[in-house]
């Protein structure tokens, strides 16, 4: 009995290397989400509130990473931002900086795949906010910008939050685009999915794989619970 207990404990023991992978994953996901969200909010707002020429085409492009195979997204990123890519070349020539296969690349890949997800959710939640309330706010002498922060944003908050959590989880689980564009460099771009993938390739690494899977499940669950908690708090305040 005690022996079994001990063996389970030692099985669940997360190694130093695994810890660094986990921390790196969280770091990349957090940075990506923090960068993504303000853009997604701005973007979701414009998409939800305004009509313009070529909107659907524009929207289609933004949503592309949602439907494209992630590996293809990564390949496109490599073509655009790689050393020989039309943007990457300029950056490399001017600043001598290589983007691909760095932590920045991991962050960019995560942003690109999670952005449409967050934007979509943000957009829907802004569409749910009654424009009449915004008009009412402005009629009270409050500028459109302040109206946004005091009316539209708080009312769309739960949607934005769940979009953010969804995006965070997507960042955490991002594999295809990252391995193509950022590689699997340990300590730099090797996130949980990469580590799981490589462990699966190595005989005898099953336990490490299972530990990392458990950890990612736990992180995602915690994120969901926090989101749910914040959401409830907002709703409770309202009634």
């Amino acid at each position: 009995m005690t022996f079994e207990y001990c063996s389970i404990l030692s099985f669940l023991q997360i190694s130093e290397a695994e810890w660094s992978v986990i921390l790196l994953s969280v770091k990349v996901a957090v940075i990506s989400t923090i960068i993504s969200v303000p853009f997604a909010i701005t973007f979701g707002w414009f998409m939800g509130r305004y009509r313009f020429r070529g909107k659907s085409v524009f929207e289609g492009i933004i949503h592309l990473p949602l439907v494209m195979p992630p590996v293809a997204t990564g390949y496109l990123l490599l073509i655009v931002l790689g050393k020989q890519g039309f943007i990457g070349k300029l950056i490399f020539n001017w600043f001598g900086v290589q983007i691909a296969f760095t932590q920045t690349a991991a962050v960019i890949a995560a942003i690109v795949v999670s952005f449409p997800l967050i934007t979509r959710s943000v957009r829907t939640s802004f569409e749910m906010v009654d424009i009449k309330l915004e008009a009412a706010s402005r009629s009270l002498g409050i500028s459109p910008l302040k109206t946004f922060f005091r009316i539209s944003f708080p009312l769309a908050f739960s949607g934005i939050l769940s979009g953010t959590i969804l995006g965070f989880a997507r960042c955490l689980g991002e594999f295809g685009a990252t391995i193509t564009f950022a590689g699997n460099i340990s300590g730099k771009t090797s996130t949980i999915p990469m580590a799981v993938y490589s462990n699966m390739q190595i005989p005898g690494k099953e336990s490490a794989t299972i530990r990392l899977v458990i950890v990612s499940v736990i992180i995602s669950l915690i994120a969901m619970i926090i989101a749910e908690y914040l959401n409830r708090k907002v709703i409770r305040k309202r009634s």
């Binding site: 490599l78 073509i79 790689g82 050393k83 020989q84 290589q98 691909a100 296969f101 391995i179 193509t180 590689g183 699997n184 460099i185 340990s186 993938y197 490589s198 699966m200 390739q201 190595i202 005989p203």
Partner: protein, 255 residues
């Protein structure tokens, strides 16, 4: 409703059983799990084998490890071709194979983009490889891609591993390595000669001496349930008729 479901269920089961049966008895199909690096050779050999026979090949190309895992999970081909001894041993240990043999061997080479300023690098002990390039040297992830494993092994025996360790870009397979060098994302790459000679966007700038790493031997394993055609193909792999195909693709015979 329930009756309908039962019928439906039986129907599905029937299809499944007949499907399996077909696969097991009439050996018109040969299922091969083949290491990805052998794609070109395999296609040519299988074409030449098919010549006067009515046979179709069911081929599954992936890394030796992925294939071994699938076999372990119970998906059994007729033939498993591995680029790596350990994985071949692993599949062999499952007690499902009847025959095993060496095929040909591959050579590990150092490549650079065709337009690179690097001409040749002679891989010798304590050489100053770090001063020869700035960016990344791409290779299969040494943790699980055999080519990467051999590369690290070689660099270690040349005592230059610690000089380039930080510049290694691990990739998920040899094809990715090749692609990254082709795209000039990496200044150098370690691949098999068989892959390098197929690409006109890269050039071979160095050859790894054979005595500094484990030999890169391709092995074929015939599974116990395989039929006669499969056995014939297994034999055909090392037939003298295929010698040219192997060598033209950069492989060499095992002495």
């Amino acid at each position: 409703m329930k009756l309908f479901f039962n019928k439906f269920y039986l129907y599905i089961v029937c299809i499944f059983i007949t499907g399996c049966k077909e696969h097991n008895t009439s050996k018109e199909e040969i299922a091969v799990f083949c290491a990805a690096g052998l794609y070109n050779v395999f296609t040519e050999i299988s074409e030449s084998f098919k010549n006067d026979r009515s046979i179709t090949f069911n081929i599954n190309l992936a890394s030796s490890g992925t294939l071994a895992r699938q076999i372990e999970q119970g998906i059994h081909p007729d033939i498993y071709i591995s680029a790596n001894m350990q994985w071949a041993d692993y599949v062999d240990s499952l007690n499902i194979c009847s025959l095993r043999k060496n095929l040909y061997k591959n050579t590990l080479v150092l490549i650079a983009p065709t337009n690179s300023t690097i001409k040749t690098i002679s891989l010798t002990k304590h050489m100053d490889i770090a001063s020869m390039f700035n960016g990344y040297i791409a290779m299969g992830d040494p943790a699980y891609v055999p080519a990467g494993k051999y590369a690290v092994e070689s660099f270690k025996s040349l005592h230059i591993y610690n000089k380039i360790e930080s510049q290694i870009l691990p990739t998920k397979d040899v094809n990715s390595t090749l692609m990254l060098v082709e795209m000039e994302e990496c200044e150098l790459g370690v691949v098999y000669k068989s892959g390098a000679i197929k690409s006109d966007k890269v050039k071979i700038v160095g050859i790894f001496p054979e005595d500094i790493h484990e030999p890169i031997i391709f092995q074929a394993l015939l599974l116990r349930d395989a039929g006669i055609s499969a056995k014939m193909f297994y034999d055909f792999l090392t037939d003298s008729a295929t010698f040219n195909i192997w060598t033209e693709n950069g492989f060499s015979i095992i002495p």
